[in-house]
Amino acid sequence: MSILAVFEQRDGVVNKMAWETLAAALQLGEQLGQPVEAAVAGKGIGGAAQEIAARGASKVYAVEHDLLGQYTPDGQAAALRTLIAKIRPYLVLFPHTYQVRDYAPKLATALNRALVSDVIGHRVEGGKLTLVRQLFQGKVNADVQFAGDAPYFASIQAGAYRADRLPATTGAVEAFAPEIAAGQIRSVPREWFRESQRAVDLTTAEIIVSVGRGIKEAENISIVQKLADVLGAELAASRPICDNGWLPMERQVGSSGQTVAPKMYIAVGISGAIQHLVGMKGSKTIVAINKDANAPIFEVADYGIIGDLFQVVPALVEEIKKAKG
């Protein structure tokens, strides 16, 4: 039995979040008394496997196959399934990336298990493992335990474990040739591409006023625009506002938009789902205005007003005018 940290790579370059997964695996390995191994799947991944073996995994399985040259959920799940059947790990951990969301539930289902996705922490009490994950976009936590027999599956949220203290080790690399047939891979992936250059660069803004779902209607955006104007700030938004077409996609801050770190970030009516927080938590001063005192945005804020934005924001505009006056 072992704890298996599954890495993600593209063109032989390891995804950074996977190091945090390895850090989680090493903590769990120590607490549960289990060896920690790692796996990386693809084509031409020998270098990546060596890199992983030098940072704490006792053994790294280099899962290599021509059919894994370009990621497909069918190929990835089939390859890891044959590896898991051979090494029979106790717990399989993944970084909670878009790619993992694409194939890990399929892999777990094929082995008749449910995956605990998006884990933010854990406890081990009397040898029993409890994982912590978030519900309601970070407003509520849940403790989750595995039932039935191993293997167990979980994915780890970005930033939940620290990758900056991984040990320097000399683990072994073992080549593993998975059994995959071309007929198992049903989709044809094409090259990655980016849309045309962004017209708005939020990353150079000194002050950003960002608006979220609390604004309720497109017409109300002007209320927040006034706050941005009086501060000389750029206007930005959380994803739902751009999904609704109330502001252009290029003004979106978060994991699928821009990552910003201005001198001041004012979040108006944004509850603070992790997808938004990762895009702005590096800001120097964070101000949050929200009617829900339990909103996760207050967790990263330096200053906060608990109240109705429709009353607070106009009052704030007046007070700033006075202060600047």
Partner: protein, 256 residues
């Protein structure tokens, strides 16, 4: 094209959440429910594909009796009929078990395309679509921003991290999880609301659909997270709290 859209009912997004006395779930008594927003985008895409290619849109919903309201709204927006897997305790099941019920409910349907939202706003596992694809032996793709018919199959635009995208081609039948924002959501028309009253809702119970299997994960406790970082919080009359905040921003943080 026969399209099944999986929809879930979830607490309204701006609900103030409280935990129940047993620490097993939130207190549902004083909150409103609506369609899980990502699923609204899946429904929208299903309706657009039907408008373009003809066929039928079937809404599939697993949830308690109150979810009937959300199903009616989907029918009013244009779904042709619905299947409601009705049970008051689906929350006790893990995502694999719920997907098993959905898979058996679809066994007789033979859809060309199954659509789901990318995740639910309540449990947020983000897995139902992918699990369902595996159970139904369908090829799948996730976080889809565009769907085009191409020959006997489809070509989809998949969202990746950091502003990257990718096209993926696959044969039908297939399953897609739809990224929010794929298209502007429509409202139900008065005519749609009227028509919805006569549309078929097939009700199934878990016992109609076979044993869901033993759970492999269990939620043991639900609670509000303890807050670690102490923000300076102000609460009170708007003018007063605004003045206090500006004072702090000017003299403490020195950002204005």
């Amino acid at each position: 094209m026969k399209i099944v859209v999986c929809i879930k009912q979830a607490p309204a997004r701006d609900s103030l959440l409280r935990i129940n006395a047993a620490n097993s779930w939130i207190n549902e008594d004083d909150i409103a429910f609506e369609i899980n927003e990502p699923d609204a985008y899946a429904l929208e895409e299903g309706l657009r594909l039907k408008e373009k290619h003809g066929g039928e849109v079937v809404a599939l919903c697993a949830g308690p009796a109150r979810a009937a309201q959300t199903i009616r709204e989907a029918l009013a927006k244009g779904a042709d009929r619905a299947i409601h897997i009705e049970d008051e305790n689906l929350g006790a099941l893990d995502p694999l078990a719920v997907a098993r019920l959905m898979s058996s409910a679809l066994a007789a349907e033979q859809p060309d395309l199954v659509l789901t939202g990318l995740q639910s706003d309540d449990l947020g596992y983000g897995q139902t679509g992918v699990i369902l694809a595996e159970l139904m032996s369908l090829p799948h793709a996730t976080l889809i921003m565009q769907v085009e018919a191409e020959g006997a199959g489809i070509r989809v635009k998949r969202e990746l991290e950091d502003g990257w995208f990718q096209h993926v081609e696959m044969p039908l039948p297939a399953l897609l999880t739809i990224q929010s924002g794929i298209g502007k959501l429509r409202y139900a028309t008065l005519m749609g609301i009227k028509k919805a009253k006569t549309k078929e809702i097939k009700r199934l119970t878990p016992s109609d659909l076979g044993a869901p299997g033993t759970p492999s994960i269990q939620v043991t406790r639900v609670y509000l997270p303890s807050r670690t970082k102490q923000a300076q919080l102000f609460e009170g009359p708007p003018r007063e709290v605004a003045a206090k905040l500006v004072e702090k921003l000017k003299f403490e943080a020195r950002v204005i």
